[in-house]
Amino acid sequence: MVTQKKLLLIFRNPPFSSSANRDNLDIALACSAFDIPVSLLFLNDAVLQLHKNQQSHLLEQKDLTKTLNALEMYDIDQCYVIDEHLARYQLSKDDLILNCHSLAREKLASFIHDFDVVINL
């Protein structure tokens, strides 16, 4: 029997700057479909990916917001941000499209420690 592993996906990029955020989200959906428990951590500039009021059509890009909003349908509701990273961009949790848990920066190491597999794109 295979033991269930906890997967953490770390996001580090602002929106529209690379395909990494979308690629990482696609991993989240695929792994969730295989019943792997998935958590998402939006580090640093990646909190900007969660900012409300984005208008991706202005850049003729696909809207990642839709996929992010669909996460709950896939039973992925473990999303995390770091307080200090929100503050750096003068954001509060209300400015985000997802309902995120916030972590103190000092707790980051023990948070990561608890996972079995980490993918950091």
Binding site: F16, D45, H51
Partner: protein, 99 residues
């Protein structure tokens, strides 16, 4: 037309080495334009880092609107549309892109 340079930067300020190199390269009367992910630098306190220089800092409107941060842009920043970006590239004698 000036004899100065327009510096075009497109990364967020977390790329601090890129910003340091750009700052080191700023001549009197040069301009800086924040495009793509660099428009976040035009928010709040961040443009302070450019305040020691006699330069004008611009930010590209389309990229600001796409990111939904139009209400957060610092008053020190001149927001320009796509057409005005072209005009700036004519106004300044050359450009240096930082990416």
């Amino acid at each position: 037309m000036t004899s100065s340079t327009l510096h075009i930067i497109n990364k967020a300020a977390s790329n601090s080495q890129l910003y340091r190199d750009c700052l080191d390269s700023l001549h009197d009367d040069d301009g800086v334009i924040f495009i793509e992910s660099a428009v976040y630098t035009a928010c709040g306190a961040e443009p302070e880092m450019f305040s020691n220089f006699n330069i004008t800092a611009y930010a590209l409107k389309t990229d600001i609107l796409a990111r939904g941060i139009q209400d957060k842009i610092s008053e020190k920043i001149t927001v320009v549309d796509d057409g005005e970006f072209v005009e700036l590239c004519c106004l300044y004698k050359k450009s240096v892109s930082w990416f």
